[in-house]
Symmetry: C2
Subunit: 594 residues, 2 copies
Amino acid sequence: MTYATPLRDIRFVLKNIAGMDEISHLPGYEHATSDVVEAVLEEAAKLSSEVWAPINRTGDRQMAKMIDGGVKTPEGFKEAYKKYAEGGWNALVCPAEFGGQNLPWALGVAVGEMWQSANLALSLCPLLSQAAIEAIEKHGTSEQKHTYLPKLISGEWAATMQLTEPQAGTDLAAIRTTATRNGDHYLIRGQKIFISYGDHDFTPNIIHLILARVDGLPSGNDGLGLFIMPKFLLNKDGSPGKRNDIKAVSLEHKLGIHASPTCVMMYGENGGAVAYLVGDTSEEGKGLRNMFTMMNNARIAVGVQGVGLSEVAYQHALDYAKARLQCSKLGDKSGKRVAIIEHPDVRRMLLTMKANTEAYYAGSMIDWMRRNPDPVQVQLAAARVDLLTPLVKAWSTDLAVETASTGLQVHGGMGFIEETGAAQYYRDSRITQIYEGTNGIQSNDLVFRKILRDNGAEAARFMKEMREFLVDLSQKPSDDLDVIQNGMVKAVAALEETTQWVLANAKSNTEALAASAVPYLRIFSTVAGGYMMTKMAYAAHRALFTADGHADYYNAKLITARFFTEALLPQIYGLMAPVMGGHTAVTQIANDQF
Amino acid sequence: MTYATPLRDIRFVLKNIAGMDEISHLPGYEHATSDVVEAVLEEAAKLSSEVWAPINRTGDRQMAKMIDGGVKTPEGFKEAYKKYAEGGWNALVCPAEFGGQNLPWALGVAVGEMWQSANLALSLCPLLSQAAIEAIEKHGTSEQKHTYLPKLISGEWAATMQLTEPQAGTDLAAIRTTATRNGDHYLIRGQKIFISYGDHDFTPNIIHLILARVDGLPSGNDGLGLFIMPKFLLNKDGSPGKRNDIKAVSLEHKLGIHASPTCVMMYGENGGAVAYLVGDTSEEGKGLRNMFTMMNNARIAVGVQGVGLSEVAYQHALDYAKARLQCSKLGDKSGKRVAIIEHPDVRRMLLTMKANTEAYYAGSMIDWMRRNPDPVQVQLAAARVDLLTPLVKAWSTDLAVETASTGLQVHGGMGFIEETGAAQYYRDSRITQIYEGTNGIQSNDLVFRKILRDNGAEAARFMKEMREFLVDLSQKPSDDLDVIQNGMVKAVAALEETTQWVLANAKSNTEALAASAVPYLRIFSTVAGGYMMTKMAYAAHRALFTADGHADYYNAKLITARFFTEALLPQIYGLMAPVMGGHTAVTQIANDQF
């Protein structure tokens, strides 16, 4: 078995972290009944584990190839994508108006986790389509929506997100690809790199969303436009017609996600690629802002990739730990060998791999933001999503890499051998800390935008919510809950203290803030993760009284949350001093002293 | 430039951490004058950076291949090995009696760092020869020493270390390969896996040291013997003659160190491979103990690999950070792009990559253990080496992987592209946490052997030494030294407290100890690393008064040590609670609750 969908865990998290029951009562989500949710989960579990997962290793070995000027994906990938599109999976959270199923984002996160666990390289293609769909839905003209959304939502066509150039990575203001007005459209000329699924054989057309510098506009960010640039221009009837002036010229040779074609793209060898400004002409210089709609969507989706990878790397290591016999149990002199799961250090590693649910919480907040009839609540939910986005992206992906590495370590020497598969998770996961904004960029986003922009108001509201929950929790006596509650009260106070330091240094010491952002994000997201674990522990504690025959399962949740509180949460106490006092040297040292 | 030997740093560490001047006054090391040391460093720097480093990337791509039943190493590897052997580098720390240069181990560590930085995959071959040389020197008969050591020390032949079998990794008592007495020799039959350089084209003969189960002896550890098993049996004149019944049947496809052939080996297809017991017949059941001579040597050498990889990954990232222009300096609105080394978070990452010198200290302790005329001091040095071995192996290699990962992150998206080279360090370094005993095994070795065996005596002596040094330091006023001294005093107290907990739970709670061993090792090694940084800071402080024109360099050492104390050392406060209270869940959770 390469991947067994953890349906019971997903249901538990949907109920207790995402609050699926409450979400399904929001206006517009009435059709998301528990039957529908259950059916969706079960069908996605089948497709992901039976079709997507089995080609994950072969895809890594075969890799995407460039053949005769086009990309050929590994065996089985095209068919697996087709089954995904035909099953309506691409349409899950999309608007009904254009053929979507309009189901909650929280459910989208659950299903997304399955694709990511099963096959990260393949999942990247629809992930980018989803982001493009949201950008067109939010910023496109009515005509653009009607032209592109139905085909993108059905998955008949795929989309890409084209930003990076050799000199313009984090620094998108440095983009040089140009867009020149030419009647009702623009002509794009230039080159981009690192374009995931810039070309492929899944769909008869690819709709590229590209950021380019508009001729005649000022330099810098305000000169960028976001454009729709189809691989094949559309005929009058909407079908793909003439090939646009776009070429994928080569593929990158990467550490991981080998099956995902990472393209170098060229436009304009024959005069210019035809492209259409997203929205009306007033949007000409607003490309960066419009692109960020895609980007924020993609950042949460990459966080979900982290969740999915952690899950599958955990499963993979657990299987091995149960099967591999090595050494006797501690203290046993009989010479009888036991499975390595019996060894305390292996148990510690396995337990460490089990905490990664912030993305579900973020997904539920998107639903509250979209569907709550109360505009004040919508604004609060939006602020929460803003705050959570860098946490979800950076923490979930940091944990994914750590989890994949721990999984490799559980395998011992076998982990280093590619055939085992653990090494692929280690390689694949590493990109998630980089793309859609490196985790360093996420940390700076957290500090300079999410915390400082509202002077810490939303962060304070989140901490207040945690404290209130913990007071509530203290009424429910249980040994495990006591330990968890005490640990979390202390941790929230530590987060509070560190956040106060960030606010106090907002104006006077921005260099220190920038140098402390990464450990600060780690503190914030670890405490938020502890809050999720606490919620799950409390839910498990309540469920124990239902005597539904799953006491072992609920106890396992309590034990895992206790482990998080006792063994992982305390790492924040090793990060407070670095945040508040670890920056002197960073600013003192001269460049040539490195 | 792929690797520029950091000669100035190496000299500084040799002087101030290893105490090279004092070592060169030990009896038997009189010839290790400063002129000789300097000449050795400069020549090794040339060979490593000019010959070994340039084939590191090509070796990764070409990989070792199995061709016509034998291993073919990548282009240039055989020649690079030959230059190494001809230069006398293999003989550096070996005994003069058999053609060695008998130079100090501390110098061996310095030179070893260079090979590892330049080309980890290639360096593994001589690393294993060194370990075998030590085992034969310590446990072999006089005839064996005279037969094999001169050729191995000169590098004319290479050696291997053959332990692992599919069912016997950490658990060597499970070895099934057999050795049957046959007159003056034994016949070996069986199979081994994960044999580094089990076959290759560097040398006309390979001397395998193999652990096998002796027919007629009891099962378990006491039935194992250590044998010399040459690839080609020796003619009367000592030259390689008839091919022994040994075959490398296949190579593993690995995550990293692709140029190093990792062989599956078979012996006895034609009756049995001829092998000779290391030592006389009384050594028949002492193979495991004798093998551990090799293993301890190899563990420190793997720690040096960690140092070397950290250094080269740091250099590589630093070069990129100085060259890559991206975004404006914090707060600058002019739009002028700067090298990313100007960004505080990148500076934080670069500074984090700079602390890894415990292996030098361990090397110097080996010299004191070998050469001190006072037997009491010899015993103390031996106890220190024992204590340091797991710290050096685990911490240096953990840091190497973290450093390689940070280096990759500094490169952003380019880091994920194989051509950049950062990904290779990330892949290559990962094996160092596994081989020669996983870092989990090192942690258990630290707790159950190195701490508990003498009831914490040597650990206490080490902490006392640190405290005394810190008192001494408090006499020298300087802002940086003050910060460092205060931080270290607190850290040593934390180590003391945690060590007391380990001792208090020695008998009653061994499962908790086993579950806490990894974070405990991290605390111990981080504090020990802080001690090294403090020594360097103090040396730099003193050197500032010499006004030798290198004030910038010494100040950089002070700033780096301050960074370590303020930003990295505090991580131990996040690990104390996990050590002392993070094990409840590990023991509570049932296997099927994972």
